[in-house]
Amino acid sequence: MSQTFQCGDNTALVSYLYDECEPSERAAIDAHVALCAACVAELAALRSARLQLASWTPPEAELSFQIVRPRPATIAWGAPSQVEGQASGPGSRHAEAQLKPEAFIGPAVWWRRSFPAWAQAAAACLIFAAGLALGVAGGSVGGSVPAASQAVATTAAAPAAGPAAVSNTELVDLERRLRAEMAQLRTATVPPGAAAPPGISEAQLLARVRTLIEESEQRQQRELALRTAQVVRDFDSQRNLDLAQIQRSFGQIEGLTGAEVREQRQMLNYLMRVSEQR
C-alpha cells in the first residue's frame, strides 16, 4: 500500500531518521524530500545533532560490583563485603553506608531455630550471671551493694565454684526462678510504647526499619546539602575578604612607592640646584 507524506509530519521524519519505518512510508518520504528543500534541511540538522551526540561519553568509572556471601562465623553489620546479598564494589561511595536490611536475600535463619532446653537454661544462666556481675561491679563503684543482690550473686556463682554439690532439683528451681525474674525484668524495663506488638510480623518489622533508614538517609542528605551550601558561602565570603585585603595591601604599596619617588625627585632637584649654584 502506498502512503503519502505530509510536509511537517515530524513523527514520520523521526521514523525516517532512525530508519524505523515501513518500506512504503520510507518510499513516500524519499519521494517528498527529493522535492522539498525544507525537509531536506530539517533532516540534515537532525542528523547533525545526532552525530554530535556521539561525542558525549560518560567518565570512566571503576565499577566491578559483586554480590558476595558472608563467611560463616563473621556475619557483622560493619563488614559490607561479608554480608549476604550486599553489592560491593571499589567505586561504591555508599558501600559501607548501605547496610540496609533489604540488602539481604532473606532473613538469617539461625536465630529462628529452636534450641534444646538445656542450651536455653545455660544461656539464661550465663546472661543472668553476667547481668549480676555487672550489677555487682556497678554497685561496688557506687559504694553500696544491697544484701539481697549479694546473696543472689553468691547463689548464682556457687555452681561455677562447685558443680558437684548441686542437685537436679536445685537446678530446676534455679531455672524456674530465673525465668520468672527474667519475665519480670522484661515487663518492668520495656516501656509500653517502645515494645513491638506481640503480633507484629517480621515483614512489618523490616518495613519499619526500612522506613526509619530511609528517613535517616533523607535527613542526612538534607544536612549535607545545607552544609555544602554553608561551606560554599563561607568560602565565598572568605575569598571576598582576602581579595579586599590584597587590594588594600597593593594600595599601600603603591602609596609607599609614590612617596619614595617623590622624595628621590626632590633630592635630585636639590642636587641639581646646588650644582648649578656652584
Binding site: 523521526v14 524505523e20 537532525l46 547533525s48 545533532a49 561525542s55 554480590i67
Partner: protein, 195 residues
Amino acid sequence: MNVTDEDLVARSRVGDLDSFNQLILRWERPIYALAYRVIGREEDARDVCQETFLRAFRALPGFKGQAKFSSWLYRIALNLCRDWIRRQRRTPTVQLPDGVDPSELAAEQGPVESIEDLVSRRELSAVVEEAMALLPDEQRTAIVLKEYHGMTFQEIADLQGVPLSTVKTRLYQGLSVLRRHLERNGRTPQLVKRV
C-alpha cells in the same frame, strides 16, 4: 560457549551467585552509562548502578522472564533515576563547577589522540552534556535510550509506558532543542551524507 542472559538468570535463581555476578559484569557498564546520562553525576550514577543490581538480585525470585533481563534491568535503573531526580528537586544540592585541566586530560589518555583533539572533543562533550541537561527528563531519557542504547521505538515506549507516537515526538523535540543549543554555542552543523 556463549552463555545467554536467560541461562545465567536461571542459574542465579537457584542460588548460583557467580552467575549473577557474571550478569553484573555484562551489564554494569551500560547501566552506569544510562544512569550517568540521565542524572548527570558520576558518583550518583555509580550508586544508582549498584542499587539497580542489588534490587535486581533481591527481586530475582519474582522475575519470571516475561521481558528480557536487560529490559528489566533498564526499567529498574530508570525507576531509580526517576526517584533520584525527584529527590534532587526536593532537596537541591550545591554543585561545584568542574574545571577542565589539560594536563589531567593528557595524563588519562593514551598517545593516540593529540591534546588539541582531546580538549576539543571534551569541549564538545561538555556542550552536549549541557544541552542534554536542558531537556525535560522524558525527552532526555528517550534520546539516551535511542542514541546510546540502540533501543527501538517500541522498547522505549514500553519502558516509559507511553504510546509509540509520544516517543517519536519526544525524540523530535529533544533533538530540535539540542540542535538549537549546539548552534548557539558555535557548533555548526556537520556535513552529513544523506542516507
